[in-house]
């Protein structure tokens, strides 16, 4: 199992190549610490595996849960590609945050939480065809979120994520 940690810049996580790429961005505060790990280092066609994001909002900050309306929810989006099965990401139950000035209760995450993305290598004929001769697969994803505390909000951010898994011959 490999593990990567970073906190703000768009990055790529490469399981196999162990490379982290930070894009050029203006300085801005750390809002959400992101760590990820993959359940298997090598997979075979037909296997399922998970990518788990360990997410920790900065002190006093919260990010919005997928169930919110009128705010920007956290969303993990995996780019589809031939041979890759992408299941819906799994988010934990939200915490209820009561924002007194507006007298509204909002679904958020304030404490460290996990988002689990189940993936698989497609064993259908089309999937096998797509993966034929492929020794590693690069999964591209994006994590979008928006963070606030009770006095300030920061614009929505999107972090590009990349994992590369080795493919064993079946």
């Amino acid at each position: 199992m490999s593990k990567w940690t970073w906190s703000f810049a768009p990055i790529a996580m490469l399981l196999a190549a162990t490379t982290v790429v930070a894009a050029q961005q203006p300085a801005r505060p750390n809002l959400l610490q992101v760590t990820s790990h993959v359940s298997a280092e090598r997979v075979t066609v037909g296997d399922r595996f998970n990518v788990t994001l360990e997410l920790a909002p900065a002190a006093k900050m919260h990010v919005y849960a997928p169930t919110v309306v009128n705010y920007k929810p956290i969303v993990l989006t995996v780019r589809p590609q031939p041979g890759l099965i992408v299941r819906p990401a799994s988010y934990p139950p939200a915490e209820k945050y009561f924002y007194a000035p507006l007298k509204e209760t909002v679904d958020v995450y304030q404490k460290p939480f996990q988002v689990v993305q189940e993936l698989g290598l497609d064993s259908s004929p089309a999937g096998r065809a797509a993966l034929k001769g492929v020794t590693e697969l690069t999964v591209q994803a994006a994590l979008s979120y928006q963070a606030c505390d009770d006095k300030i909000c920061f614009p929505p951010r999107t972090i590009p994520l990349t994992w590369t898994v080795a493919i064993k011959e079946s």
Partner: protein
């Protein structure tokens, strides 16, 4: 703009203030079918006549900013009782706060007790009449204002029923009434003859107090007053008229390029400019925004502008317009023309970390007066603005008052 301010000042007798005659002010304010300023003053004096010299002090039981009830009787031990009618919002009244506090200090050992009563009905004060104020005239605001200015005297609220105010009949704030041991009115009028503290020729209230302390006749029992007219709850037409005019203004939304934002940062308005970056996805922005609009409503009669900038992306324009409509944001509203908020950050202000709300107040020369990333302390914001808006001579010293 100045006509409104001038018209708010009651000019007692033939007194001139700032070279402007009462009649001029009256003529400026009067609209077809509406009573003139002079007519208003005459009507109010008829409806709420000022207590006559020699009259007994009307009894009262009023709530003070200490949340306790205060009565005339509780000051019965004081040989001399001075009752000053003052208000939070009135710039003239504000300029006299320091002098009132000094009277309290100077006469504390001479048997003089001074209390202040705020006679105004908060709902009768029009937004434009709050153009020198950090708070309105409500009871809770009295607490804020008194604490900020460190009042050293009881401050009582009389804005709901105004029955006590009606019995005393203060024409303006400030208007002081001084009673002797038998609680007979011995002096009524101004505190001194000049709002500008360094131009005072006659300390009328002090002269009266000195005479009473010495057991002598009060040399001048009545003086004309100047200040802001008492706001009677029965007369809210001015406020209604102003709000109607405000609500008739359209709420527009312009698209702004990065170059336009750069230009905005230089403050091309020639006025004091408040810029607020906000977004629909920002709770603190939504909390703060009405207070900023109120601030603009209060100060817009002075050289003050407000520009709002939505940090939403162009495809969210409809939700931005909806929010602005709901709050009737009839100011210059902008939305950025890019989804790259960090480009906005870089173009507008390199020190800005792109958090919203972000509020910046710029002097006419572009100098930064106030800056906050995050929800503003609205009182601190207003005080900073007031401490930088020119007082235009009308209330000379008021700008300095807000800098103390």
């Amino acid at each position: 703009m100045h006509a409104i301010n001038i018209a708010r000042v009651v000019l007692g007798s033939s007194l001139l203030l700032g070279g402007v005659a009462a009649s001029a002010a009256a003529q400026t304010l009067a609209a077809p079918g509406e009573e003139t300023y002079a007519q208003q003053m005459a009507r109010e004096q008829s409806e709420h006549p000022t207590l006559k010299i020699g009259s007994a002090a009307p009894a009262f039981s009023l709530k003070g900013i200490d949340d306790k009830s205060h009565t005339l009787a509780e000051y019965g031990d004081a040989p001399i009782l001075a009752i000053a009618f003052i208000s939070n919002h009135c710039p003239a009244s504000q300029l006299y706060e320091g002098r009132i506090k000094q009277i309290v200090r100077d006469y504390a050992d001479k048997g003089v007790k001074l209390i202040a009563i705020a006679p105004n009905g908060p709902m009768a004060v029009a937004p434009r009449e709050l153009n020198y104020a950090e708070v309105d005239d409500s009871f809770e605001s009295m607490k804020i204002h008194a604490e900020y200015r460190q009042f050293n005297f009881p401050y009582l609220y009389e804005g709901d029923t105004q029955q006590v105010a009606h019995q005393y009949g203060p024409k303006v704030t400030p208007h002081i009434f001084i009673f002797d041991r038998e609680r007979k009115l011995r002096y009524e009028g101004r505190i001194d003859d000049n709002m500008r503290g360094n131009n005072i020729k006659t300390n009328d209230a002090r002269n009266a107090l000195d005479a009473l302390v010495a057991g002598r006749p009060v040399p001048v029992e009545h003086t004309p007053v100047f200040g802001c007219s008492t706001k009677w709850n029965s007369a809210i037409a001015g406020k209604q008229r102003e709000m109607k005019e405000w609500m008739a203004k359209p709420v527009t939304l312009e698209t702004a390029s990065l170059d336009e934002l750069k230009k905005l940062r230089t403050n091309p308005t020639g006025k004091t400019l408040m810029i607020n970056f906000w977004a629909t996805w920002c709770g603190p922005c939504q909390t703060e925004y009405p207070e900023l609009l109120t601030t603009y409503l209060w100060y817009r009669s002075r050289d003050f502008e407000f520009v709002s900038v939505a940090l939403n992306t162009p495809d969210e324009r409809a939700s931005v317009q909806k929010f602005l409509d709901e709050h009737h944001s009839a100011v210059r509203n902008l939305i950025i023309d890019t989804d790259d908020v960090y480009a906005v950050q870089a173009a507008f202000d390199a020190k800005w970390e792109s958090g919203v709300p972000f509020t910046l107040v710029l002097a006419p020369d572009g100098r930064e007066i106030y800056r906050i990333e995050g929800e503003a302390d609205i009182l601190a914001l207003r005080r900073r603005i007031l401490g930088n808006l020119p007082d235009a001579g009308m209330f000379a010293g008021n700008t300095e008052y807000w800098r103390k």
